[in-house]
Amino acid sequence: MGIEEPRPGRAEQGDPDGLAGLLGMMQLTDSALPTGAFSHSLGFETYLQSEQIADEDGFSAWLEAFVDQQLTYTDALAVRLVYAASGFAAVEDLDELVTAQALPEQIRRSGITMGRRLLSIGAASYPSPWTCRYQREVEADRMFAHQATVWGVLARSLGLPEETAVAAHLYAAVTSLTQNAVRGIPLGQSAGQRVIRRAQEWVRRGLATSRELVASGQAGEALGAVSPGLEIAQMNHERQRARLFMS
């Protein structure tokens, strides 16, 4: 395991009850955090237009594939690799890798747009050596700020356990995508909550798969591995005529 980023102890941070990390996580993974997540479907709108997704079951099938593929092989691995980073240079390389592997232009842009907003809020709220450095490098156009990498750095600085950090990120993505589906398809609010409840099993599966990939030393090579259908839909979104979402 890598060297931990220098971090003041709880007492110095004014964290006598040890809740600082949890509260920070609740702020930064809240779906109300203004990162713009409400305007990204990350590909499901393409299926909406082709009428392959029209109801709770259709959206559920897409979301399960999305969690199994993209959230597991890109986002979960990226967060874990931040935790494994022995120095900031590894985070810089990861930031570039995560950006380079996002083939669909809208997906690459959405990751960066949301990541930059998260970084700017996170660095202002919870300044630490790595978050502040990340922020400076992004402002100088030397790093991109993919959302998963940014969250990994923030979560590590907050002292969150790795499993909690990965679970929170995946769950936040599931929640905001489902809220978008509730508005976009539309689905009833209860249907949305059923999907979110069901998705917890998929999030757990993503945690386990990504944990095994890191343990077996395959995380770097596997990062970004995806199946064709999801990616084609994400590519084709940019050429749709009427769009509710930016991706």
């Binding site: 083939l103 232009e105 995806v226 064709p228």
Partner: protein, 328 residues
Amino acid sequence: MPERRAAPAAPSAAAGSGPDAAGPDAAAGTQPSSGAPDPAPAPPWTGELRLAVAARQGRSYAARQFHEGALRILRPHYLDRSGQVTYTVVNPGGAYLGADRYLIDVEVGRDASLALTTQSATKVYRTPQGPAAQDMTVRLGPGAVLEHLPDQLIVYRGGSYRQRTSVEMDPTSSLLLAEVVTPGWSPRGEAFAYDELRMRTEVRVSDPSGPGSRARRLVVDQLRIRPGEHDDVAGLGLMEGHSHTGQLLLADRRLDDELYRELVALVDASATRSGITRAGIPDVGGVRCVCIRSLADSTERIAALHRAVADALRRRWRGQAGVRLRKY
């Protein structure tokens, strides 16, 4: 990863050019067997092929070539008047087996042009000893052109395959990498009977400001299909009712907006369900990247789209005739 492979039965000639008489079936009996463990230290590669292409007075030729084990190369062809040389890779064993490791190393020098293809489909049989793996390393010099248009990949029941392609290109070079993947079959004809398929391509752009400076990452293209982990590999997000998938990666400084629109029109006109996008990190040495990913129900429909794109680029950039790969 531990080595658990069997040596190829037929030690092949080493370096040298010249016609290679091995036909597609000539060496069918010389497949590496996956029997008893070999006590001797295993050579690092089941098959190794190294090819360096250079250009002299507008004509490209192999400045160096080397092959060993279960990979060979046919004599070169000049299929048009462009001076581009076409080489055909042959796997005399006919298929990749468990724990086989293949290396293809290609260098295209300054202003040289290479079309690289295969003699027949790459077949991966059962791999109980571990995945078959192919590593391909490519270096492209200033003004160099590589068109890699292999036949389709077929992974059969119980097979696992990992392909890694690593390219380092000069910012003025031109790259086209195509792949077509079939569903593979079991003996009873069931599709998607293979265990796992992974293909990873990473392209870096070398920094002309000097040797020693690190090549910058442009794009990483990943494909992963593991049929057994899904209830329905043909389902939403995966193969979506299709049997074949394909991918085409282009990297070149001249992939401008007008050309991109032309490529979009080719994608829309094709008999495939395809996506096209501007991929990669913007402005790495000025190189632009476009990726096309396809689903279809035959190899030929995807291959036709790939040829149409290659032909459009040839026409525009080099005034070169279309792709007409001869197969023997």
